[in-house]
Symmetry: C2
Subunit: 428 residues, 2 copies
């Protein structure tokens, strides 16, 4: 497995485009599109919020069916959530516009010539094969004509270049400060398989209101059920282990499009090939999860918490998540304050039973590591040294529970003045 520099256009047969449709923002791109030149099998994971945005309902129906998918259309600025029947209608209209535009592109562009395994059906692109995603303010209706015009404009500039992928990753940002892309390659049956993804936002279980969206492209040839299984397992250990603010969005979406163009022996069972694919998917999504946590709204630091020595992996996860979601701990990290009592306190109210006297707590960063507490009280550490270690932009707390041998890691960020500013002013 090799991590490579690349975005959603890195796997064979994937194209991307971006445009400024003028949906809500001024002077910036706010739409992106990913198109595969061949039909894709798909998998998806979505928000568990009872209030689901229209695009979530739309995509969930498609990825849970056998419908082949050819494209994803994304907009930033308005979430198309709490928008009733009108919101669902706009998903249909966006998909209609995309199906029409991509059909035109397929017949006229060079891409058609590059298609490897395409047959006539590839030209029969229907609205059912178009995923849509939205992020932004809840409760506003989309200006649908602008989206339709945006889709048309993007279909004319689809490209499989590195730059096209990067511009697409930038176009879907809301309060993100950096675009988030990752890619990896693996060898499967003598063929190079590429997995790439772009994401925006900050969370899956606890996403930022600006929503987590993640689009994974791969040229792997893989059975749909196994693709879903790999995605579901990997999301549990990556996106579901990050938190920015404890709020679970109405729009969270993570979808994978696999077009099979790598020509690997098809992954049909939970074989070694499946594990190799899953491992690469894990590394790509883990990198993006850490980028999202570190780029949490207003954050100045990525805050990583590893729990070791728990009785079960589930308990280790609950403990680690309890610490990264503690407002008081996050504010202390912002203040570079080794306020270890807040960490013990957050472990304590997690719901997992343990003996506080057995816990051993260490802080670690690029500046070094320092033992902070053990045997139920402070370890008599040097405060200045601790502050120096906590002043880096990636800080790790390691909690040894001494109860068993299960481990888990969660990622969050500090709580800052800027977070409050962003969210007190976001909508108005």
């Amino acid at each position: 497995m090799v991590m490579i520099d690349g975005g959603v256009t890195a796997p064979k047969g994937f194209y991307a485009a971006n445009t400024a449709a003028g949906i809500k923002y001024r002077d910036r791109d706010d739409m992106a599109m990913i198109v595969s030149e061949a039909d894709c099998v798909t998998a998806g994971t979505y928000t568990k919020n009872v209030v689901k945005a229209a695009p979530v309902i739309w995509d969930k129906k498609i990825t849970s069916s056998d419908t082949p998918v050819r494209a994803v259309v994304v907009n930033a600025g308005i979430a198309n959530a709490c928008t009733g029947d009108e919101g669902m209608e706009y998903c249909q209209k966006t998909a209609d516009a995309a199906a029409k535009a991509i059909k035109g592109w397929s017949m006229t562009s060079n891409a058609a010539a590059k298609a490897i395994n395409r047959d006539d059906t590839a030209y029969n692109i229907s609205s059912d094969g178009i995923l849509v995603a939205s992020t932004g303010v809840i409760g506003m209706q989309l200006p649908i004509e602008k989206l339709e015009a945006g889709v048309e404009a993007m279909s004319k500039k689809l490209s499989d270049s590195r730059e096209a992928a990067n511009l697409a990753a930038r176009a879907i940002m809301t309060t993100d400060t950096i675009p988030k892309e990752a890619a990896a390659t693996v060898e499967i049956g003598g063929q190079t398989v590429t997995i790439a993804a772009m994401t925006k936002g900050s969370g899956m279980i606890h996403p930022n209101m600006c929503t987590m969206l993640c689009f994974v492209t791969t040229d792997a040839d893989i059975d749909k059920k196994l693709l879903q299984s790999a995605l579901s397992e990997v999301v549990e250990d990556t996106f579901n282990m990050i938190s920015v603010d404890g709020d679970t969005s109405t729009n969270d979406t993570c979808v994978v499009l696999a077009n099979g163009l790598a020509k690997n022996p098809k992954i049909n069972e939970k074989s070694n090939d499946y594990e190799v694919f899953k491992e690469a998917l894990f590394e790509v999504l883990k990198k993006l999860a850490m980028m999202m946590a570190g780029d949490g709204e207003g954050a100045t630091a990525l805050f990583e918490v590893t729990v070791n020595g728990a009785r079960t992996i589930n308990e280790a996860k609950i403990l680690a998540k309890s610490v990264i979601t503690s407002s008081l701990t996050k504010a202390a990290i912002y203040g570079h304050d080794a306020n270890w009592g807040r960490i013990l306190c957050a472990l304590g109210y997690s719901g997992v039973d343990f003996d506080p006297v057995k816990v051993r707590l260490t802080f670690k960063s690029a500046a070094g590591s320092i033992l902070i507490a053990e045997n139920g009280h402070g370890a008599g550490f040097d405060e200045e040294e601790a502050t120096r270690i906590l002043s880096e932009d990636h800080v790790t707390a390691i909690c040894e529970m001494n109860m068993g041998d299960a481990s888990a890691t969660a990622w969050g960020c500090d709580l800052t003045h800027e977070y409050v500013s962003i969210n007190a002013d976001y909508r108005s």
Copy 2:
């Protein structure tokens, strides 16, 4: 039931004192003591955090036994949490000092003459009859000599005046900006029974790290089991319905001392008298709960959320709490922004199932009320009018779920820049 102006000295036979012991703060009081001239039956509710401060362990043992109690000693500045055996030893030493000092006071002061039902045993004050409570930084050891000197000093100035109660309520504050007292009287069997309390901090389920402490005094004559039952029920609907930041402290404590000096017919069963007593206790603790939420760290507004039309009270509580703990909703309240999507979103991830289309959301304050959303989308309200209503210091969101007839109310506060400042700098 009549709410009266008063603090912990309002019920018959209760005295209070305060002092500046120099534990951590400079130039302010940091210790308080409440003493009853007669033995009290007690009840208590405590933090559910696995990591329990030494005073919590100390008090829990006493209030769950039949030991008569005569006093509570409280300090602010250091929490005596994560302090190991040494911390437990300091509880003992504080109680020893208090038992000795109060015995001296009982024998020499006028208070002795005022005792109504006291017999010789009242002079046999033992350390087992002294509750202790601490609030402040976790992980530091108490300067025990300063506490012992503080107890001695306070025993010389015990008073049943209104002012003494108020000074005690001020002495236990940490990041609180106002002292919190409440009192009520009820008639039981022809006698006037008084219930009073002082509290500090901001929560029970989700308290501020500066911890919630609540001390209730009453001259009611009531069976110990019924006192505990009344307290447990009332705490569920008051302190357990407030949240400032989602962190559950190691020190949360709410204790009631009942000395029986009102001479009411003893409450021995769940009679009408019991209900009258419980109702007054509810009103006293509800007033304090709302004061705590409104005085949450950095808060500019009390944020009340009422859920109506839920299927069960438990579901109504979960829904209401989910909204008051949503960082994004709290930041929007700070910004006076009618960002109703965040409220629907927080209802949606609460874990309670409902139909978003049926929800009807109204904002209300002293400036008026306004319908914000219904039928799954915005109600086309006037933004300026909404902002005007949300600019008050007590703002209420009313969520009609239209599923049943259960209701619940929760209280929180807005999330502000000041909250971050307080908690990034608190310990250092």
